[in-house]
């Protein structure tokens, strides 16, 4: 401990020396980094973590090109004995369905994310205003649904019989565009990053709350908006449950990509549970390699969407790197 403190003291002294040097900010930048040894250690840690996380995706990709016979004989393996592209050929045969589903997923994700971000940010902002008279009421208002819900059946009844959402894209968008979780995160972001003085100065300039929100608050909260947008994007991209209950099986033109994957998985579960009763004519199990091929198709595109959001976290990420 003592040695470290001493070392730090030396560093401070060094800094003082540098302060006196001509280029102040350069020196600060150089100083305001972890030590090289620590950097190497951290880098190794993250590389290891990244490998642990990439491995399964690689694994899935490998299964998708393993031959079905090889799986039957030797089980799953990172080094398959026989390769085969038959699963992709099969998916290619389904290209009308899969292609359409892909477009559906993209559309639903984009529209849903936009709507969701607006609704979430608006509510989150109002809840972050301490002077707002209904703040307490609305906090409870969004808190209660976080824990209590009416259940599948009543939601189904309301959404199909009152709102008429059955077999529409809206059934896949509206029910999940808001969540109390996101609103509360947003509220916290606003509370911590939007200074009260800014709102007051906006008011003094004669702006109403809507304008303050749109023109002053949102621009400085881009990382927060990007966070919520990212959560929503992934939620929409991974969503299949809504499709399984609100899109009837006839409307394959409305299926999102994940539902195709999950419906194959559900088919398998159904066949397992009822294998004994369904007799000879039961459709056979879809092959595992094919499922993995669809997983690959579902995961890869969203990986490319990620960097778009990522710039909002990483850009200024070297903490405290003094800009300018």
């Amino acid at each position: 401990m003592a040695i470290r403190a001493k070392k730090k003291q030396e560093e401070y002294n060094a800094l003082d020396a540098k302060k006196n040097a001509s280029n102040l900010s350069d020196g600060m930048l150089r100083f305001n980094c972890v030590r090289p040894a620590a950097n190497v250690a951290y880098s190794l840690l993250f590389i290891a973590l990244a490998l642990v996380c990439v491995l399964p995706v690689v694994f899935v990709a490998i299964i998708s090109i393993t031959s079905e016979q090889s799986i039957g004989q030797y089980g799953y393996s990172f080094f398959p004995k026989q390769l085969s592209l038959s699963s992709y050929r099969y998916v290619w045969n389904m290209r009308d369905l899969v292609g359409r589903a892909f477009l559906n997923s993209v559309g639903i994700t984009v529209v849903g994310t936009c709507i969701g971000v607006i609704l979430t940010a608006a509510m989150g902002y109002t809840l972050s205003r301490k002077s707002y008279k209904f703040r307490g009421f609305f906090t409870y208002f969004i808190f209660i649904p976080m824990l209590f819900h009416g259940g599948t059946l009543s939601s189904y009844v309301v959404n199909t019989q009152i709102l008429g959402l059955k077999d529409t894209y809206w059934a896949l968008i509206l029910p999940i565009c808001c969540s109390s979780f996101n609103i509360i995160i947003m509220r916290t972001f606003f509370t911590t990053t939007v200074p009260d003085e800014m709102i007051e100065s906006g008011k003094i300039d004669g702006a109403n709350q809507l304008r303050i929100f749109a023109q002053l608050v949102l621009p400085i909260c881009l990382p927060a908006l990007a966070t919520i947008a990212l959560f929503l994007t992934f939620a929409y991209w991974n969503e299949w449950y809504l499709a399984s209950i609100y899109i009837s099986s006839n409307r394959t033109d409305l299926f999102p990509l994940q539902y195709i994957l999950v419906s194959i998985e559900e088919k398998i579960q159904f066949l397992i549970n009822n294998a004994g009763f369904m007799g000879a004519d039961a459709q056979d199990m879809p092959s595992e390699t094919m499922r993995m091929a669809i997983v690959v198709i579902a995961v890869v595109p969203i990986m490319f969407a990620y960097p778009f959001f990522q710039k909002y976290y990483i850009s200024g990420l070297t903490v405290g790197a003094v800009k300018g």
Binding site: N32, Y42, Y313, V319
Partner: protein
């Protein structure tokens, strides 16, 4: 607020209940979201009644009519099935649900916060980006797929782990049978952290990114080390987010991630005591049932909500004792 003498005139006015233009404007701003909540959360809430009724559909009458006129009240009958199992299972299921959640809550705050801070220290921003993307990947794999992956490692004959064990001269383990039950809590915790790490990091990374750079600038000028900056600037500014994430997680302490417990263990009987949670129990009792199970499912959900609500309020009360500013309410 707790010191009334410092109240401004405005606040006093507010106390008296006058609605200002400001309030109306803010209300207008939140109106669309409010409507959304009414339509998608509050109207369907009448469905909670089903937990206290023996729901029986009346042909051709629709849900509401059936619920009100055709379904007799049954008090707490729908709740009984949760406790009708033997003591051992009931205890195991509550112990697992709460126990795993406590571990998850702690780890899913500590690890992502630590990683979010560390990743911000990396020299190479490109490396940071690549690693961060990679860490996020498991989030996209469903538990079913993760289940296959785990199986590739742990399968008795063809599994990677057993092959390694054999080549090292150690007896292979039958991972999905009772003899391996001791390992599974660790496997489950690892999988949960692994899958959610990238997702949880994002909130904290965004918060760090939102911190005013001039604070660090000032710190550097004052000669603060990296460690000190983290301790005195980053962590205190992350505190509100951490607290909110914590409180929200506590509210779901009686819910469990069904996929994690059911799919990765493959519902294997030998491991039952290590993975049975409330949701697993409910699923195992109700799935493919020939009787309508909405009442039971609803009852189970209701119990989880009430218990979760109570723990959340308790957590909130503790937090507001310590730090009123950052509490939930």
């Amino acid at each position: 607020m707790n010191r009334p003498e410092t109240m401004t005139i405005q606040q006093k006015k507010k106390k008296r209940g006058k609605i200002r233009v400001d309030d109306l404007q803010l209300f207008a701003l939140s109106l669309p979201t409010t409507i959304w909540y009414l339509l998608f959360c509050y109207i369907p809430m009448f469905g909670i009644l089903i937990a206290f009724k023996k729901y029986k559909v009346a042909p051709g009458k629709g849900f509401l009519w059936s619920l009100i006129h055709n379904s007799p009240w049954c008090g707490l009958d729908n709740f009984k099935f949760l406790f009708s199992s033997n003591m051992k299972t009931t205890v195991a299921m509550f112990r697992n649900t709460v126990g795993y959640n406590i571990v998850f809550i702690v780890l899913n705050i500590v690890i992502p916060v630590a990683l979010a801070i560390l990743i911000s220290h990396l020299y190479s921003k490109r490396l940071a980006k690549v690693c961060q993307t990679a860490i996020f990947l498991p989030h996209f794999l469903s538990w079913v797929v993760v289940g296959y992956f785990v199986y590739a490692f742990l399968a008795t004959n063809e599994g990677l782990v057993n092959n390694v064990l054999i080549s090292m001269g150690i007896n292979p383990i039958r991972w999905y049978q009772k003899e391996a039950i001791g390992y599974w809590p660790f496997i489950l915790v690892f999988l949960n952290v692994w899958k959610n790490m990238g997702y949880n990091m994002i909130v904290y990374m965004a918060s760090i990114n939102g911190i005013d750079g001039s604070l660090y600038e000032a710190a550097v000028i004052d000669g603060a080390s990296k460690h000190q900056q983290t301790r005195y600037i980053t962590l205190p500014l992350l505190k509100p987010v951490i607290i909110i994430m914590f409180i929200m997680a506590v509210g779901r302490i009686f819910n469990s991630d069904f996929g994690l417990f059911y799919r990765t263990t493959r519902n294997s009987s030998g491991l039952y005591n290590a993975f049975v949670t409330l949701d697993v129990y409910v699923y195992n009792s109700l799935f493919k049932s020939t009787i309508p199970t909405y009442g039971y499912a609803s009852a189970a959900g209701f119990i989880q909500s009430v218990l979760g609500c109570l723990t959340l309020l308790a957590a909130n009360a503790i937090v507001s004792k310590v730090d009123k500013e950052n509490a939930f309410f």
